[in-house]
Symmetry: D2
Subunit: 303 residues, 4 copies
């Protein structure tokens, strides 16, 4: 059943760029090999952390194939395939399926905010779900899109057999609870950020796809495992410990913070693609302190 395949902690991986601004496939392969040695359930390629809007279409397709090929076949790779138009989303979702993606994480169109009524969004997701050969996960990311997908809409979409879950990055635990209260069994609800992973799992969520899971994958996986085992005190302790590190790679410094953190812990982070600016020196020093406190880096800060 669905939960077997899509549950636990997924890392929405960043796209590594070299000094020349092109995708650094060697570095990516090395990163993938390291993530494969963690307790991550799977990966998301072309999520928001993957800088997908900054990539050309051919880069996006190449990345899906490459990541699927270089990550253990028994662990799912989910591809972000949402575009502004329905037809481009369908086209790319089908292509991602051909390239081996196990599911598609579909961000809602959002540029034409006024036109994206519940009816328009419902139509969009149903059209994509009908046309897709792989399962669809809804991606709610109001911080970037400026639109929230309300529980009522999500619950109506959850009835479709090819819409298998949602990554909700709203951080709105009430909305997440409302989805969990009303969704059919097996509908997978993922926390969209590490800062509310434990509350989501406590309310019935299956896991999370979390920027911070790139940096602290096992700690994130442990929160889910401990919560399921009823070891709440331990789960809470980890959850509280990673809050600042999570903020550093999301709300506070975003992708630039995530890439800098990866560099610090020995993965390849590298520069973001312009117009995103890299972290300046002051922020890097502060980030290092945060990572040490979170236990992601030894106190010496040396590796």
């Amino acid at each position: 059943m669905g939960e077997a395949r899509f549950s636990g902690v997924f890392a929405p991986i960043p796209t590594p760029f070299g000094e020349d601004g092109e995708i650094a496939y060697g570095a990516l392969r090395d990163n993938l090999a390291r993530w494969a040695r963690t307790r991550l359930a799977g990966l998301v390629v072309l999520g928001s952390n993957g800088e997908f809007p900054l990539l050309d279409q051919d880069e996006k397709e190449a990345l899906v194939g490459f990541v699927r090929e270089h990550f253990p076949a028994d662990r799912p790779v989910i591809a972000g395939t949402g575009c502004e138009s329905t037809r481009a989303t369908i086209r790319f979702t089908r292509r991602a399926a051909e390239l081996g993606a196990d599911a598609a994480l579909v961000l809602n169109p959002h540029y034409y905010k006024g036109a994206m009524t519940e009816e328009a969004l419902r139509r969009f997701y149903l059209d994509v779900a009908e046309a897709s050969p792989i399962p669809i996960m809804i991606y709610n990311m109001p911080g970037n899109t400026g639109l929230n997908l309300p529980a009522r809409l999500v619950l109506s979409l959850a009835e479709h057999p090819n819409i298998v879950g949602i990554k909700d990055s709203s951080g709105n635990i009430v909305q997440i609870s409302e989805i969990l209260a009303g969704a059919p069994p097996g509908f997978a609800v993922f926390a969209g950020s590490g800062s509310f992973l434990l509350p989501t799992v406590i309310m019935g969520g299956v896991g999370g796809t979390l920027a911070v899971a790139n940096v602290m994958p096992d700690e994130c996986a442990d929160i889910v495992t401990l919560a399921r085992a009823g070891r709440l005190e331990e789960a809470r302790a980890i959850q509280l410990r990673i809050l600042a590190a999570n903020a550093a790679v999301t709300s506070r410094w975003g992708i630039a913070g995530l890439k800098a953190a990866l560099d610090m812990i020995g993965y390849y982070g590298g520069p973001p693609r312009p117009p995103i600016l890299p972290l300046d020196e002051g922020a890097r020093a502060e980030l290092r302190t945060i990572l040490v406190r979170a236990g992601a880096l030894p106190a010496s800060g040396e590796r």
Copy 2:
């Protein structure tokens, strides 16, 4: 210690008005007697649900005294005393103490949004805490005030010995977690709405002050008790069951919904004070259905 006195579930009671628009003290006495027979830890008088901005100053003072007098002395009564000016807040907090209030729930000034910098708000709360003979609880209610009190500010205030806790109605579980991660031991964090009571308690909160606790007091108390006992499945089941009822008396229909619900379950609700409009018939029918589903009313709907 503090937690003994300020923990568990508090009901922020509505102010009953008669047909003549004046406070209906007889009805209030009867309501208080019924709440006293529940597992509520205490009450809040003059919270947002108490229509405090619609009351005259003499009404507010009379209410604090009356509620304290007619509720069991071993259960705390917390009075809402926040005003826009520092001096009026101090004056009323002292008066509430004289009238027997066990603590003051202090809403932040918010009309001059641009002027309410973190420094201004910090100064406000410290001045009030210094001057108050009773403990101060911070009241964060961004939905009504249009201002959020960020975790950093709350944590700085939590250092003051006379600031003993916060009612956070933001619904932002990340912010609540950040407060819990950084606050000194004994600082009491209350969920400000029934929709995120369990997540708050799971993260370390001591309880909630919840509109829905007026209507379903024992169910709310049970969530806290079960969560503390590690009986998560049961706690979650209640939490998910009360979501719609909670929304009905808060985000959806507010005080008008709360008063109508009280009327339906046999308490006195009565009309809100203008400009708040009472619930129309269609909404009442829908509310009745929601209360039946939540288990707050028998299916027949008759009482």
Copy 3:
């Protein structure tokens, strides 16, 4: 007719406080005498700049009487009388009329944002207009209230014979235009801030009630006069010149900035009432530079 009495530029005067925190009536009398020598059409007492939410009820009543008494009888004094409850608003509006106020500027209730539907707000304003012996002006101040009064609501209220105008502080020139396109003849639309005075007048507004009019009354009056005379270039030059000074006493530094500016130009400003903090030294220096550039202070900065 109405326009004869309520048009042109009004200053919403600040409330002066002494070192002891009480209202400084002597300073107020001196200020009033100076404003009386300008081309201001009238004054607003107890507007947002008057710190009305920080005043006690007896202070508010005393201020209305005092200002009316000490300002030329042929120029209107408008009193801010909006409260959260309908009955308190009616009571105070009637009292303001007894005290000599020529009209009431009525801010909408806003604490219970969810309950303040168009229907509730319409009911509120109609009830107040029916009960008031003096004309009512609507006061739309979304920056402080967190609620906007849409054009449709305003136009429905404009039909009432005792609702004679609006002070719109939204800065939304489209909304102001929609009101002007649909309102009955004689309905007076005032710009609520000096930054959009000329556009408002160009679209058909009768003037403004402007914080900056406390500091640069004649310049503001000139914008209206020049615009009416078709001398657009000159009006625009003044409008562009006062933008930064207007921002300094509104969006940027608010009441603290306004009071500091008054001190600099020789009126009495004095301290704001806590929790509003006074301007710090750095901001004062910057404010002085802005006033010099706007022509409100001689370049030497000495007075």
Copy 4:
């Protein structure tokens, strides 16, 4: 000089699609021929009204070339070339120049809202301006992007010789005034919507690029001409008359409304591309009434 070429009223044309969902070039050619017979100063292709985010890259390039080719050479065609990445924006801007575009209207990147600091946006625009063989116009569209470009940033960019103007769709007349107060001579400020065209021109703007200019081009052009001639009453009368029609094709029904309006007045509108839904019958009837009232359709509604 710049103003000679980039001033007056521009229509940001919609992209016509046939029943098969592909670009209907024949219909587009006919539309272009009709717009050429109006007093429009020029056109914008691939603006928000052009559904640019819903087009494939090859479609976008083909459109730029086609529109330039089929519109009178003495009237400028401005191409929307903004992409999320700096490099894609530069690449497409250069390509648009090759295809004959007279200027590029560059929307700011906006998906990574947290990362789009003033510094990042400044860098983005300067990099594009440096690399572009044609003049750059800034495009501020907060309603769709969720980000506003503040006056300070715009003024800093206005110093660059290849950044020649801004289309500001914020509707914030204060911000527009601040830009006009501080920009170097010749920096062209365009209203981004027909609802604030006259106020913008009065404050010193050179014209507008307006959805409603597709439907009522000569009325829009007249507002500018009359305002420049000091015939304010007439300009205001037209401005007030077109407000509802403007809202119908922008804030209210967006592109679906614009296309339906074009169908009604005898141009080709056709269906929007999914996920945008076409206007339903009720809305069409209401739109027709609005167009009649605005004078865009004869009262019979027949053509």
